[in-house]
Amino acid sequence: MINKQVAGVQDAIAGVSDNMTCMFGGFGLSGIPENAIAALVKSGVKGLTCISNNAGVDDFGLGLLLHQHQIKKMVSSYVGENDEFERQMLSGELDVELIPQGTLAERCRAAQAGFPAVYTPAGYGTEVAEGKETREFDGKMYVLEHAFKADFAFVKAWKGDAAGNLIFKGTARNFNPNMCGAAKITVAEVEELVPVGELDPNQIHIPGIFVQRIFQGEKYEKRIEQRTVRKRE
C-alpha cells in the first residue's frame, strides 16, 4: 500500500503558492472541500485561478477566498447567489470565464484521462465558441475544448483510506471524481478516514492512484443552500 495520508490540512495544502491554478470540487455548497478552503483563506495565498462549477456564497465556500481578494480568475458555469462575486466581476477586479457545465466536467475528465482536448456540441454558435476551433461530424457542428491544466485539485469525499481510495455520497459527488488526477497534485479531504482494507474494493468510486494526499477534515458544516421541504400529510 502506498501511503497518501498527511497529518492534516496544513500538510495537505503545502506547496500552494501565489498565481497557481486550483480546481475545487462541489456543486453549489454541496461536496465542497471545506477544510482546504478554510486553510487557503488563512494561508493568505493570492492571485489564484480557480476552476469550480460555482463560486460559493458571500460567506461560505469559495466566497471566503473571494472576500479576501485571493482569487484573480474564476472558471465556472454558474455564479449566481454571490453579491461580492458580482461586484468584483462588474468592477473588473475579477476575471471570469463562464463555460458550459458539461464542458467544465469534460475538460477536467480530459486532463484526468490524458486527452489534450475534446469536441463538444455545447456552445456552438454562441460567444463561448468564439476563437475556438470548430468541426463538423455527421452534419453537426462541434467546438474543440482543451483539457484543463491545474497545479492542485481539492476534492471532498465521504469516506477514504490512506491508500487514497475514495467513496462519495449522494449528489455531493458531482465534480469531485472528475477532478481527481486532473491536476499535478490532488488533495482529497474526507469525512471519515477508515483503516486500509475496510473499504470494499467493489464499491470504490476513485482508486487511490488519482490521489496524492488524503486527510480527514476536522469538521464539516455542510451548509444547505436552498432548504426545501414538504408538509407531512
Binding site: S77, G123, K222, Q226
Partner: protein
C-alpha cells in the same frame, strides 16, 4: 384567460410520455413534475448527478448531500442513482435523456434560444443549459410570452447572447403552444379564452396561423 406558471407546467406535463427520462430546468420546468400522470413511468434527471428524483423531503429529513441542480434539498425514489458530473452530461450529450424542459429569456423563430446573460446587468452563467440545448433531441421551452415590460419574448432574432442555435422545437407560454418551423412560429393551441389576435399582438416573430386553432385541453 392567460395561464399562470402552474398552468404552463400542467400543459407541458401532457408532453411527457411513458418511459421518458426527463431533465427539468429551474423555474416553471420544475413545476412540471407535479402534473405528470400517475399511470406512466418517468424518471427525472438533475444534472448535478441524480436520476430518479423524488419530491422535497419532509421537514427534518433534509440532507445537504442530496440536492437538485437548483441546490434545493430533494429525495430519491426507489431505483434512483447518483453519479459524477461527467457521467451526468454523458447522459445529456449522448442523448440518453429523452426530453429537456427549460426556461428562456428569448426564443427566435429559427429556434435560437437565449437564457444565460444580459450584458452589463445580469451574468449568472449558463450552468448546464448550453449542453442541454446543444444535445437534446426534444426541447420544450417553458416561459411567459412577454417580459415584465410587456415586450415579446418570441422574436425574429434573439437580441441577447445565445445559449444555443436552431435547437428549440416547441414552446409553451401563458398564451399558446407553438412549434418552431422553417418558416416561423406555428401556432398549435391557444390558452383558454385567449384569441389568435392576442397571441399575434404578443409575438414579434413570424406567427403562422393555419385554420382554426384549438384551445388547450388542460
Amino acid at each position: 384567460m392567460a395561464l399562470d406558471k402552474n398552468g404552463i407546467a400542467k400543459r407541458i406535463a401532457k408532453e411527457v410520455q411513458d418511459g421518458y427520462y426527463v431533465n427539468l430546468g429551474i423555474g416553471i420546468p420544475t413545476l412540471v413534475a407535479n402534473y405528470v400522470r400517475n399511470d406512466i413511468e418517468v424518471e427525472f434527471q438533475s444534472e448535478n448527478g441524480v436520476l430518479g428524483m423524488g419530491p422535497f423531503p419532509f421537514e427534518g429529513e433534509e440532507d445537504a448531500d442530496i440536492i437538485n441542480a437548483g441546490k434545493q434539498t430533494i429525495t430519491t425514489l426507489p431505483g434512483a442513482s447518483f453519479f459524477d458530473s461527467a457521467m451526468s452530461f454523458s447522459m445529456i450529450r449522448g442523448q440518453h435523456v429523452h426530453l429537456t424542459i427549460l426556461g428562456a429569456m428569448e426564443v427566435a423563430e429559427n429556434g435560437d434560444i437565449a437564457n444565460w446573460k444580459i450584458p452589463g446587468r445580469m451574468v449568472k452563467g449558463m450552468g448546464g443549459a448550453m449542453d442541454l440545448v446543444a444535445s437534446a433531441e426534444n426541447i420544450i421551452v417553458a416561459m411567459m410570452h412577454t417580459n415584465k415590460a410587456g415586450e415579446s419574448k418570441l422574436l425574429k432574432r434573439c437580441s441577447l447572447p445565445l445559449t444555443g442555435v436552431g435547437c428549440v422545437k416547441k414552446i409553451v407560454t401563458n398564451l399558446a403552444v407553438l412549434e418552431v418551423t422553417e418558416s416561423g412560429f406555428k401556432l398549435l393551441e391557444r390558452a383558454p379564452g385567449v384569441s389568435v389576435e392576442d397571441i399575434q399582438k404578443a409575438t414579434e416573430g413570424t406567427l403562422i396561423v393555419e385554420g382554426a386553432i384549438p384551445e388547450m385541453n388542460l
